[in-house]
């Protein structure tokens, strides 16, 4: 019974957290600095929109496919860093390091804040925004100055 109650309360809590909308926010408002992710998968869709570009990717783990929606910096920042429409086309297999959202139910998809992306040629590029309160994890070249 105890397990049942804990599960019930935990599920309720997580559902309510997950329905918080993703608006224009500080990192800490939406993402969990203690939940780093390392995602490898095929790009499905890229939204080149302000204030954040979003990369949708399909990640396959143990035979199960999951769609992840990864938040990047502004499109202009990405382009300045060398991430372009040509380099991140749908179908490209990329590796993204970042942090998962505080809501982890992955309904209808998982959400993460992207810190850097590695392309098939091995090029690793910062894909986030500076000054949003994300952890100082070495991904942002500006933090090293």
């Amino acid at each position: 019974m105890t397990n049942f109650m804990i599960k019930t309360i935990f599920s309720t809590f997580m559902i309510l957290l997950s329905v918080n909308s993703f608006s224009h926010h500080a990192f800490t408002a939406e993402f969990d600095a203690n939940a780093p992710v390392n995602l490898t998968g095929k790009v499905l869709k890229v939204e080149w929109i302000n204030p954040h570009a979003w990369v949708h990717m399909e990640v396959e783990e143990e035979g199960k496919k999951t769609t992840w929606m990864v938040e990047g910096g502004t499109p202009n920042t990405l382009i300045r860093n060398g991430i372009t429409k040509q380099s991140i086309k749908p179908g490209t297999v990329i590796v993204v390091r970042g942090y998962q959202s505080k809501g982890k139910l992955c309904l209808p998809r998982c959400i993460a804040n992207g810190r850097d992306v590695t392309f098939p040629d091995g090029r690793k590029v910062f894909m986030g925004s500076s000054g949003t309160g994300a952890p100082r994890d070495g991904a942002d070249p500006r933090e090293r100055r």
């Binding site: 109650m5 500080a26 502004t74 202009n76």
Partner: protein, 144 residues
Amino acid sequence: MKRLIVVSFLLLFSLLSLQSFASEDHSDMHDVMAHLLTPASEKIWNASGFIITEEGELSLAPTNQEEWNEVIFGAKVIMESTFILNRPDRSQGRSDWIRFSELLEQIGKKAFEAAENKDPEELFEVGADLYQACVACHNVYMKK
């Protein structure tokens, strides 16, 4: 039955706790941001850019005057918000606050011109400037 009552009680307690935890900040500045600047910014952000899938590229640029008018509305609100933010009780004479606020007038003006000229590329650029201005100010003044 007893089990159901206990679980119901705990669920209710959990919901009430969460409601309290997640309750919105209704401070003066929060409400200005939430009800004025954010919706106005979204008029600009949502009207430029593109979505790329395997099927092709979809532009988000306005396609008719009515949609451009929405951008013009947002741009004007951003421009005029400078004066709302610079109300003496809000600015409290803080020079960087005033500087950040005045930046919004310039950015709003650029967005207005981009909309008047129906220039989605320029609007896209201005949208990025707007976000950078928001972040710069939030880094100083927004409660973490």
